[in-house]
Assembly symmetry: C2
Homo-oligomer: 129 residues x 2
């Protein structure tokens, strides 16, 4: 059976993909794929997603150059989530952090803190908007 | 500002939570939380979720004993995904694997393979169903 037939896409035809840095185990981001973006990810070896807000197919790094080269694609017991190991060029987060998960809860949720440095500003990555 | 006010719950009042083993960096599972299950996770230090299929609040490990003790709760740049570091008792997956992501794609998606051993059978975890 094909791998893709094991998967359950949601009512919008989407499946969440957790992106993990192969080398460090750092979880970099979570984004959504449809069947076409997953197939393109497999065939090109670069991550492609579906943007729910922009209703648009996109390759990670197409604007920033911060592409992701796929090392492994795993899927969970329910077939409704992907876990993709990548080699990340530059910062994964569009806000210039290595990981999108750069803030953590403190004091039982009363506050939060940044847990990693900003490597670049969005202006440095994308130019003036 | 409270941490929880930074978050965007979806149209069903849910937010996906990626669960990562603190000690090893292994991504164990992804499940959904509503505001109440997140607040209970924070106040008790044990992960609680919302089951979309059963429409039910549940504590991870309530049947299996395989609970998760929270070490850190991070959230992403868009505020629409959580990344929670835990100490996992036993196998995280209800199928008896350490991680729910125990299968990976092979041969460009033509096949898949198991990437870790099954530690227990579901019958051993939950008894006869």
């Amino acid at each position: 059976m094909m791998f893709i037939d094991q998967l359950k896409f949601d009512a919008n035809g989407l499946i969440p993909a957790i992106i993990q840095e192969h080398k460090t185990g750092r979880v970099l981001m979570m984004a959504w794929m449809n069947r076409a973006s997953l197939q393109t990810t497999i065939s090109t070896g670069k991550t492609h997603f579906w943007s729910r807000s922009r209703q648009k197919f996109w390759m990670k790094g197409e604007s920033s150059g911060h592409t992701q080269t796929v090392k492994d694609i795993a899927f969970d017991c329910d077939g409704d989530t992907l876990l993709i190991q990548v080699e990340q060029v530059g910062a994964a987060c569009h806000e210039g952090y290595q990981s999108c998960f750069f803030r953590s809860l403190q004091n039982s949720g009363a506050a939060f803190k940044s847990t990693e440095p900003q490597l670049q500003t969005p202006e440095q990555i994308y130019g003036k908007m």
